[in-house]
């Protein structure tokens, strides 16, 4: 019970500190009403007026796709370098683990801002950011997957005189492949949402269009774009779920 009261006091203090009034939303609801008034009806002509919105959607999808693909491949490679049962050289292993830990904690904001400067504001910057983010998010998971693989078959394969690479190819990879692909599909789902956010900081795509529309106060465009974003995310999520079920379900049945 004391924990509860501590939390309540903390919340109260926090609200005072940030001038946050929890009921503020309801008390100042007229702002929301005004905004909704300006935002409806949504202007779907953004799609046809100039091709930039439709193109932007393609851009976001592309950068999420490539970011996941490249990031996933790099994450797998680094994971093999970081796993204790596939990398016997301690120096390489520790370096790989350090890189993965570092990429995991680096704030995504820093990454996008760096790339915007390094390669210019573009979808390319957004894609590079997603590559780094994907390695950060999944590198450690993949390493654990590799290390948790059934060991006995590996022992048998070594016993026939196979090399380490052959053991990896015939024992480890068959065991992790379905889960690996399922995770990459999941990564695509996560990355598409991130890609939208990155667009706002210069990463291109539909996020950029959203920010643009908002800054020139074209709220009807904003609504249209937001609804398109929602549709895009839902579609990607459904596809990702379907493919994942097909792969994992098949894995279980197999």
């Amino acid at each position: 019970m004391t924990v509860f009261s501590i939390v309540v006091v903390a919340v109260a203090l926090a609200c005072i500190y940030t001038n946050f009034n929890p009921l503020g939303i309801f008390m100042e609801f007229h702002y929301v009403r005004d905004l909704v008034g300006e935002m409806t009806p949504p202007n779907y002509h953004v799609l046809s007026d100039n091709s930039s919105t439709a193109m932007a959607i393609l851009q976001t999808l592309s950068l999420a796709f490539l970011g996941t693909l490249y990031g996933g491949v790099i994450a797998v490679v680094v994971a093999f370098l970081a796993a204790s049962n596939t990398m016997p050289f301690r120096a390489i292993r520790l370096t790989a683990r350090f890189v993965l830990s570092f990429l995991r904690v680096i704030p995504i904001l820093v990454v996008i801002l760096i790339f915007v400067i390094a390669v210019g504001p573009s979808t390319f910057a957004g894609m590079l950011t997603l590559v780094i983010v994907t390695v950060g998010n999944f590198g450690k998971l993949f390493t654990e997957m590799i290390e948790n693989v059934d060991n006995p078959p590996a022992e048998a394969i070594f016993s026939v005189g196979a090399s380490r690479m052959q053991v990896i190819r015939y024992s480890i990879i068959p065991q992790i492949l379905p889960t690996l692909i399922a995770n990459l599909l999941f990564a695509f789902d996560v990355n598409i949402r991130a890609a939208i956010g990155l667009g706002i900081f210069g990463g291109g795509g539909i996020g950029f269009q959203l920010q643009l529309a908002k800054s020139v106060l074209h709220y009807k465009d904003v609504t249209a774009i937001v609804s398109l974003i929602i549709i895009m995310v839902i579609v990607v999520e459904k596809i990702s779920d379907y493919l994942r079920r097909k792969i994992l379900g098949e894995g279980k049945l197999r």
């Binding site: 078959p153 048998a156 026939v160 005189g161 015939y170 065991q175």
Partner: protein
């Protein structure tokens, strides 16, 4: 021919796990190694293909040029070469469950196949045909395409034997190959292993003296790291008690079970 000389392995606290194990095995022999748990049988077997390195002693095998090689002393590359010709069957089968039975058999020759080719291309059709013949010998050719994870224990062990056969080995090792199987499957496996001893020495670790009595040509008993018996597989009750001590009752139960199945 295999010659084991004076294997020793001592724990840091002084206890001797292996204390001067020595024996010779040649083609035509099916040797069963018996002993109570912890006596040192599995350790001995694992020294024979280099999975374990003893503190001292040698395991001498002859390579394809008939030169003697000491497994305990050769380097990694030579060990890999030697292992190509040593077949191993494990208690837990040690198959890759996600691959088909046929693929598991073909894995047996990985040591003998060019690494690059095995990584990127896989196995040739010729190799697949030969693997199928190996599966035929263990009566598993119908299930060649099924995923190994779906097979029963007895079927998996037969695939493991096919994998060993496929290697065309000069020595076959078996680490408690029937301990996970029911008595009827155990009999089938023993019946498949025995004929292999005509072409190469077969050394197996067993927990089932009634099985070794029936199928092996020779029995070596190990107690507390030392060989206490080496000879006729049919053991008297007095011998069995020497080897196993209190575990004798368990064995008698198994004997009854086996007799019941044989009927």
């Amino acid at each position: 021919m295999l010659e084991v000389k004076n294997l020793t392995k001592t724990l840091p606290n002084g206890r001797r796990l292996l204390d001067g194990i020595s024996f010779k095995v040649k083609k035509g022999e099916f040797v069963g190694i018996l002993g109570s748990s912890g006596a040192g049988k599995t350790l001995t077997l694992r020294c024979l293909n280099g999975l374990l390195k003893p503190d001292s002693g040698s395991v001498i095998i002859r390579d394809e040029h008939d030169r003697p090689l000491d497994i305990c002393k050769i380097n990694k590359r030579e060990l890999r070469r030697v292992r190509q010709k040593i077949g191993v069957i494990f208690q837990g089968y040690h198959l890759v469950k996600r691959l088909s039975a046929l693929e598991n058999v073909m894995i047996g020759k990985l040591g003998q196949i060019n690494t690059f080719r095995s990584l990127f291309y896989g196995f040739t059709d010729t190799e697949a045909e030969q693997a199928l013949k190996a599966l035929d010998k263990v009566k598993m050719s119908e299930l060649a395409g099924s995923m190994t994870g779906n097979l029963s224990g007895g079927e998996m062990q037969r695939v493991a034997i096919a994998r060993a056969i496929f290697q065309s080995p000069t020595l076959l090792l078996a680490d408690e190959p029937i301990s996970n199987l029911d008595p009827s499957n155990a009999k089938t496996i023993m019946k498949m292993i025995k004929p292999l001893s005509e072409h190469m020495p077969v050394i197996g670790v067993f927990h089932q003296p009634e099985m070794t009595a029936k199928y092996c040509s020779r029995v070596i008993a190990i107690k507390e790291g030392k060989i206490i018996y080496d000879g006729d597989p049919k053991l008297s009750n007095k011998r069995l008690e020497e080897i196993y001590g209190e575990e004798l009752e368990l064995i008698e139960q198994q004997e009854h079970l086996l007799a019941a199945i044989a009927k």
